[in-house]
Symmetry: C2
DNA sequence: GTATCTGCAAAACATTTGCAATTCT
DNA sequence: AGAATTGCAAATGTTTTGCAGATAC
């Protein structure tokens, strides 16, 4: 078990999640790749390393990690959910041409709000759709 | 044909969409109800008035209206798309307890941006999840 | 040994698609 | 008649569910 696995394990334990091998590997993937993957992408990328891994476990794990506030769930796409382990406030930009999803380090007071119009905020999402700087020419 | 239908018709024509009865009624529903409905909700609510209306037509129409920039598509829910005819910049608040979706009249310079980090912005979305003021007690 | 985690297959849904029927001018 | 619109039924694709088997402590 290398350093990364150990760190991931501690993160899970702190949040009250039992650090099974599958859970560690899925969360580690999110931390290392930072690619806002779907369930399918995760399955495609790590099922080689963990031959017994099933998609059901990925679904279960991501749901659990989301409920424990360890990762974010991105519903920018109409048809599939993406996940993100970056928990600091940031925005996203979706290019409708190349389909890439960019992180934007936006400093926005609205993203850090804990209360809006009397409602208690748990999570905030800011995202844009458009044509990215590499596609617009 | 009442005043509303006439107004809706003109809006559609201005955007280059032929104002069929179905299209008028679907867009009018969105304007009048302002309830961020799903395809199913629209179908449930207006298929009584228009007995021949099919869900396929609602799907077709909403897609067309979205592409013509007449309505917005909201992907806040994981599993289904909602639609909104309010085109002025505003945010949304989703209550995880009562499940209601609120409009928030947020004045946010980020929502009006046409360019971010060199990318050309076409649409902006800001939304929150949490517990609404009526559920939190 | 008991509780939790995992995996398979089937089910459940929302959405899309192909194509035929209808409507409008 | 010709072109666009609509509707049905089937297909698609993602996510959930039920339950059985495996694993961990």
């Amino acid at each position: 078990m290398d350093m990364n696995d150990q760190e991931i394990k501690i993160i899970l334990q702190k949040k009250g999640v039992k650090p099974s091998l599958h859970r560690i590997k899925i969360l580690e993937y999110l931390y290392v790749k930072k690619n806002h993957p779907t369930v399918d992408i995760i399955y495609r990328d790590i099922s080689g390393d963990i031959p017994t891994l099933s998609k059901t476990t990925i679904y279960n794990t991501l749901k659990l990690l989301y409920e424990k506030n360890i990762i974010r769930m991105l519903t920018i796409e109409e048809n599939e959910v993406k996940y993100d382990a970056t928990m600091t406030n940031h925005a996203h930009f979706k290019c409708i041409s190349c389909r890439k999803l960019y992180d934007l380090p936006v400093r926005n007071r609205h993203l850090g709000a804990t209360e809006i119009d009397g409602h208690s905020v748990i999570e905030s999402h800011l995202y844009y759709r458009g044509t990215c700087k590499f596609c617009k020419n």
